[in-house]
Amino acid sequence: MIREIFEKIDKNMEFFGGMLKVFEIEENEIRAEISLKDWKISIEIGKNLKNKENLIRDVILHEVAHWKICPKDIINHYNLFEIVYKYFKGEDANYILNAFEDLIVNTYNKFENPPYEGQKEFFKIQISKNISKFYKFFVILNLYLWDEKESIKEFFKDFNLNKKEDFEILRDIEEILKSWNLPSNPHQKISYIKNSSNWKKLLIKFLEKCKKYFDFIKIPLSGFESTFEKESKKGENIEKYLIYKLKKGKIPDFLSKFEFLDIYYKINAPLIFVKMIHKEKFEIPLLKYGKEKFDINENSFFEINWKTLFFDPFSPFKNRINFYVNPFNHGIYIKHPFKKSIPDILFILDSSGSMLTPNLNNFPFGEKYHNAILGIYAVLSFLKKIGVAPYIKYSLIQFSSKTISTGWLNYYEIKELKKRIFCPEGSTTKFDVDLLEKTLSENKNEKFILFITDSEIFNFYKIKEKLIQLLSENYTFFFQMGKPGSAYKVLKNKFNYIKVEKSSDLYGKMIEASKNVYL
């Protein structure tokens, strides 16, 4: 029966891309959710509710209307979420927003898919389990929107206008409706409430009033936890929303500066193609003879020699047919200092004024610093991609007039490193070589150091000997943006000294360096 109901709704609502999954549960309950990703509806239904046609129909209609009418997609949802966030925080904000979206959806269904009696049944089931001030306010507001205010007693038997609480609920609801000023004609009312450009106005008045009713008991509104609530917590959806917002040049209020910058750089860090290996400088190629079978984890399809095929029980292709690839040219490393462990990573980042100016389109950092952050994020993402990220330690030394070190952090503490990056000093360029020595001495592992700077360090000649000695003991790449000063002639012969002509080339070079170390 559930499938038949769904098929009918599917056709009427033009929900061709939607899908339904039904699960039977022991409890006397019905729960439903719609996935924001692929619009799959999941219903969990108690055995004794399986024949309640009205209830099932309206629960499905409710979920489908979240797709069809409100919020329709994550962008709309977050637009509303930003408004709610000014009044409520965290989980409460999600709950209240879902209540608002339910009001729109229920009103739409009441008039467009009558009789919608199953939704009433759903309210009753929820009320029988628990009751909160807010839920009472919410149900009565629904009834008002449906033009069914006379049926309040059907839900709340002890409802009495002589009671202060009940009186206030009605007064506030009438005030909301007065300010909403919805058309009385049902068709006009529907076309008004389903128009997303009107939602902001409706929501603000709703929020002003519902604040005083909101208690800590959150009675499930349309199911257990609304999918929109769930989805909105997922990072990937926030990222999608951010891309949208950034295109419009706005930063959402509900994110802290760190959260915003962190997501921004995660999204914008360049893509890494792990298979691109350039080791010419560092190894002598050794040619391996013969042929190897294609391994989907090791080879790309471009490497396949299509001429010969053979039977291979472990083939990634169908019918256990596989192909040969030319073997990988292994090499003898001539400059690689690591013998045993995977090296830990240290970023030494110049955060002086010249790195930060001029500002980049209302962005907090200048172009060079921006590209340095992109580079660091790209390297972090690369380490994650090749699977070494959880096994190494991370450190950042930031220098301007002061030199600051984060110390050595594990994978789960990277946030501290990122926070440090987003707080550049923007003053002169001095380097505290003792702090570098201390940081290096705190970690006995081999280290990969990426030194990023754009100008000459004022105290370079004082620290030269020690700096060179410390950096030489490790595998260091020195990235020089802008014009190099005379002091760097000294460095040129000591390390992998990389001149970066354009700051936008920096991250590419940082990735290449990382590949040489880790691959």
Partner: protein
């Protein structure tokens, strides 16, 4: 009433209805329609169901056994295909090769993908040898092929079966899953009883088929039908996720890129626009079917959009237009059910806008343009704007094209030809 001189199949009897729109059609009818529409046909199904026998019968019944038979094998070499066509002795036997109107490729998916690619040319009606194109047939050539089901995994019943490339499938105008249309018990008695012998060898109808094909192609398409074709090609391609508004430019990222998009709920990310080749085959099939119905006493002069839509849902399922995973997940693999829903979805889309679209086209022909009406046609329907704009621009210079078309069709033709406007030229050809 038109007539068709093609005899019915004598050995392979199958009375199951394959298409039942306006007139019930069985496999024998579909074969004749494919022949008069000059459409390559592929029969897919379990082995031993008589697919090869059926095609051999077509070869003897309609082509007097002049067809070339290629049996695909996993170890097949490219050279063998050329040898089949006697390419090396081509200079002396060229005439014979050119005259071969029919090619049979048996068990096409037993050949590895790289060999299957060589069938591209044959399916397009020629072979390539030493950078020369050698056309097959004498103005008429079709390929009928068979393929076995791919069954993935270690429980696969047929080893040595390869996946078929979408471009190969696209070159078959008609693909039929014979398992869905099995012969009835009475048919089975006939099939078992009948056997092939030299008496079954009939005359070669290829010259006749060529003439009929030319006649079939003259059948016009209604304006609604043209709109449907444009919608299938451009409307179904619309995607708001990229600057080109095109699914085609990011086909490998669909539907993963569609996550969270409202239109995915309408099925957008699970549907791909058909290729031009497929649409040409569709038009050819519809024209051939209408012609065939005329020979059965059904009088129709024009291909309507309903004809095209029905034929679209018959020819589409094997062309990867609907995402397979989606069909497996939502419809438990029931392709027919998915296609019925899809067809109805398109029907609703067209019906909803049909009259308004005609209105906007007529206005454009009259040299009028209403921005407000134009605005109604956005997203999936935006392609109409370009067409109407081009017509409007001509009408602005030449006057009311509708009047000209009614009063002076020759002048209308001249205008269409002068401006080389494909839409106006299409109208002349089809209405």
């Amino acid at each position: 009433m038109k007539t068709l001189e093609l005899p019915d199949l004598k050995i392979y009897k199958n009375s199951s209805r394959i298409l039942n729109f306006e007139f019930p059609l069985n496999l024998s009818d579909i074969i004749k329609i494919s022949l008069i529409g000059k459409l390559n046909l592929l029969l897919i199904g379990e082995r031993g169901e008589g697919k090869t026998k059926l095609i051999e019968e077509v070869n003897s019944l309609y082509f007097s056994e002049k067809g070339i038979y290629i049996r695909a094998r996993p170890d097949m070499k490219l050279r063998e295909i050329f040898e089949k066509f006697n390419i090396e002795k081509m200079e002396v036997e060229l005439k014979e090769i050119r005259n071969s109107p029919f090619t049979i490729i048996d068990e096409i998916n037993r050949a590895p993908a790289i060999i299957q690619n060589e069938f591209f040319h044959i399916l397009d009606g020629y072979i390539e040898f030493e950078n020369r194109k050698i056309y097959l047939g004498n103005g008429y050539h079709v390929v009928f092929a068979t393929a076995n089901y791919e069954k993935e995994g270690i429980f696969s019943r047929y080893h040595g079966i390869f996946e078929m490339d979408a471009s190969i499938l696209d070159r078959f105008g008609v693909i039929i899953n014979t398992d869905l249309f099995s012969p009835s018990p009475l048919d089975t008695i006939e099939i078992v009883k009948n056997s092939y012998n030299d008496e079954n060898k009939e005359k070669d109808y290829s010259e006749y088929l060529k003439k009929i094909f030319d006649e079939v192609q003259k059948l016009p398409l209604s304006l609604d039908a043209i709109i449907l074709i444009l919608y299938l090609r451009h409307g179904l391609n619309y995607c708001e996720k990229n600057i080109y508004n095109s699914k085609r430019v990011m086909i490998s990222n669909i539907p993963s890129i569609c996550e969270g998009c409202h239109k995915l709920g309408k099925g957008c990310g699970y549907i791909f626009p058909p290729s031009i080749r497929f649409l040409k085959s569709l038009i050819s099939f519809s024209k051939a079917r209408i012609f065939y119905l005329n020979t059965k006493g059904i009088n129709k002069e024009i291909v309507e959009y309903n004809d095209l839509l029905e034929d679209f849902s018959f020819l589409g399922p094997f062309n990867g237009i609907i995402n397979n995973n989606f069909i497996y997940e939502k419809y438990s693999g029931d392709f027919l059910k998915a296609w019925i829903d899809f067809k109805n979805k398109i029907k609703r889309e067209i019906e909803e806008r049909k009259e308004r679209i005609k209105e906007i086209i007529i206005l454009s022909l009259k040299g009028k343009r209403y921005i407000e009406i134009f605005k109604e046609f956005d997203e999936e329907w935006e392609f109409l704007r370009e067409i109407c704009e081009s017509v409007y621009e001509i009408a602005k210079k030449e006057g009311d094209l509708l009047k000209i078309m009614e009063k002076n069709p020759y002048k209308f033709k001249e205008i269409a030809e002068n401006y080389k406007n494909p839409f106006l030229l299409f109208m002349i050809k089809n209405d």
